[in-house]
Every structure is written in structure tokens, then in C-alpha cells.
């Protein structure tokens, strides 16, 4: 039955929304800063999937180019974030993410 099913962009958008919501829930629920970063990666991947699905349906290459930019931004964000986590953990081991509210502006 599924063989005859045509997969349109709405399937990919639904999957992208599900992935984004799972990432957002993880970001709100988990307290480990590393896992929170992973959840941010999940949300960025959901955005990438939506970009490419729209680009395919519109026949425009701009979606794929945007995904390249999102990849670069995600890599830079992970590098800076992990450097901050390592710096904080080196100074203050066993700190929970809630206790690092000093970074709050």
C-alpha cells in the first residue's frame, strides 16, 4: 500500500516538525549542558530538512545553499558552546547548568 504513496513535501515537513518538537522538549527537560547542545543540533537538523523539502518542491536551489550556511553556523555554535562548557567545568566541577546563571546578562 505504501508503495503507491507519493511522498510530497508535507511528509517531510511533518517529520521536520516532529524532530523540532522533540529537540525543544529535550532542551527544556534535560539539565546536562552537553545534551542540551545535542537537542539544539536536533532542532537545526529539523530546520535543514524543512529547507531542503521546500527547495525540492519549489525547484529552487536556495534551500540547499541555506542548509550549507546553517551547517556552518551550527559548527561555530557547537565549538563556542563546548569551549564555554569546558571552561566553566574546569573552574567549577560538578556545576549544574542551572547554577551557571552568572552568564545571564
Amino acid at each position: 500500500m505504501t508503495l503507491a504513496l507519493a511522498i510530497g513535501p508535507e511528509y517531510y515537513l511533518a517529520l521536520s516538525a516532529a524532530l523540532f518538537v522533540i529537540g525543544a522538549i529535550g532542551l527544556l527537560v534535560r539539565r546536562n549542558p552537553l545534551i542540551m547542545f545535542m537537542c539544539i543540533e536536533l532542532m537545526l537538523n529539523a530546520a535543514n530538512l524543512a529547507f531542503i523539502a521546500f527547495g525540492k518542491s519549489m525547484g529552487d536551489l536556495g534551500g540547499q545553499v541555506s542548509v550549507l550556511f546553517v551547517l556552518v553556523v551550527a559548527a561555530a555554535e557547537v565549538v563556542i558552546g563546548l569551549a564555554i562548557v569546558v571552561a566553566v567545568m574546569r573552574r567549577r566541577p560538578k556545576a549544574s547548568i542551572d547554577e551557571i546563571s552568572v552568564l545571564r546578562g
Binding site: I22, K56, S57, L68
Partner: protein
């Protein structure tokens, strides 16, 4: 065939995402993240974005997850989470609300699935390629095939990336990467004169001092004591070099 691939890869993606959120061990969560990223790469191939599928596997699964694993191993995996504290008021309720909102949105999509989600029909979008950007279907229709070759995809992306439409964003991105590298080096560098490490017991006095109703008994003890205990229970081993 596309449907079968889609549903298998969607299962992989969702299972990996749930694994990232639910698994206790950060190493297991990172491995689940690899599964999710591979599933998304399969979707990219399904959507004829061949180059980005390769980039997804190389950059995400090859570089970013390895970076995560390095940091996990560096910090240790024994950091137990305290699930009780709730810094943002009502954030768990917000998470439940997000889940409910997603279910409602899914029901709405199911109801409205007969209509169109995307506004512009594909024929009109492809007939007007904007300046610099190349439409995918141009070459597809030239070769009279339904799919474009992977090397053609790479060539198109490269040409489009350096066109007048995206080249400014590309240069900004290069600048961003440079700033990220410099920032990471500055953050990870060990300063010459290090501040004295604050002991954890005294540190707990500074934390959440704006919400005194949440002071634990241990913290109240320390507050009521005449002179706080000067012991350094969690002194890292490298602080002796600083004290000399």
C-alpha cells in the same frame, strides 16, 4: 520506493531523537544523535540533495559528534542530573504544552491534508529563476530525466554559492568561522594568573541568593555559622601550582 525509504528513515530519525532526549548516559545520547543525523542524510538523498547528504555525514557525524564525545570524555560521564530544580518558572509545563501543541497541529494537518501546504505551485516557481540562482529543473528537463546527477548537483551549488545572490553571505560565513576559531582558542586557553577556585560549599551561598526561599538546609547552616568552613572539598589538583 521513495515512500519505503521515507518511512524507514523517518523511523530512524525519530528513534534517534527520542534516544537523545531520553537516554541518561551522554555517550549513548551522542550515539543516538549519530543515528538521527544518518537518517536525515538519507532524507537528503531522497530529496536529491546528494552533496548535502555527504556534507551532513562528514561534518555532523564525523566532526561535531566526535567533538561532543571528546568533551564528554574530558568532563566525565558521572554528572548526575538534578531533575527537581526548575529555573524557568513552569518550564516543564511548557514542555508538556509543546507536546500537546504538536499533537493538535498534527491533527490539524491531518484534517487539512486535502489542501495545499506550500503556496507557490512548483511549475511557477521553476519557470522564474531569480538572478544568480539556478533552478534545479532546468537541467533536469534538458536531460529528460526525473533526477539530476550528483556531480551536477555539486556544480550547481558551487555556482550558486559564488553568484551575486549568496556571495556576501558566504564571506560573512567565513568571517564567522574565523571568529569562532579565535573565540574557542581564547576560551580554552589557561590564563597565566588563575583566580582562586571557589570551594563548592561557599559557592552555594552565591547561587540562587536572589531566591532565598529555595535555600537548602545545608546552605542555611553555612549562613548561620559564625565562620564558614575553610575546607576545600573540591579543590582541583592544579590549584596548588597557583598558590605557590
Amino acid at each position: 520506493m521513495e515512500a519505503v525509504t521515507f518511512f524507514i528513515a523517518a523511523g530512524v530519525v525519530l528513534a534517534g531523537a527520542c534516544g537523545v532526549v531520553l537516554l541518561k548516559n551522554p555517550v549513548h545520547a551522542a550515539l543516538s544523535l549519530v543515528g538521527t543525523l544518518f537518517g536525515v542524510a538519507i532524507h537528503f538523498i531522497n530529496l536529491e540533495a546528494y552533496f548535502l547528504a555527504a556534507v551532513q555525514v562528514i561534518v555532523y557525524a564525523g566532526a561535531i559528534v566526535i567533538l561532543f564525545l571528546f568533551v564528554i570524555m574530558l568532563l566525565g560521564v558521572d554528572s548526575a542530573e538534578k531533575i527537581r530544580t526548575e529555573p524557568i518558572i513552569g518550564q516543564r509545563h511548557l514542555a508538556i504544552l509543546a507536546l500537546v501543541a504538536f499533537l493538535v497541529a498534527g491533527a490539524l494537518i491531518g484534517v487539512a491534508s486535502s489542501g495545499e501546504i506550500t503556496g507557490v505551485p512548483p511549475q511557477e516557481a521553476t519557470s522564474s529563476p531569480s538572478e544568480g540562482g539556478l533552478a534545479i529543473d532546468q537541467i533536469t528537463q534538458d536531460s529528460d530525466g526525473t533526477t539530476i546527477a550528483p556531480e551536477e548537483n555539486i556544480r550547481q551549488i558551487g555556482r550558486s554559492l559564488f553568484s551575486t545572490r549568496y556571495v556576501f553571505a558566504l564571506e560573512i560565513t567565513a568571517l564567522l568561522l574565523t571568529i569562532a576559531v579565535v573565540g574557542a582558542v581564547v576560551l580554552a586557553r589557561r590564563p597565566k594568573i588563575e583566580f582562586e577556585t571557589i570551594p563548592e560549599q561557599e559557592m552555594s551561598l552565591f547561587l540562587q541568593v536572589d531566591r532565598p526561599d529555595q535555600l537548602s538546609e545545608n546552605q542555611e547552616e553555612i549562613l548561620n555559622a559564625e565562620e564558614p568552613d575553610a575546607g576545600l572539598p573540591t579543590d582541583p589538583p592544579d590549584s596548588e601550582a597557583v598558590n605557590e
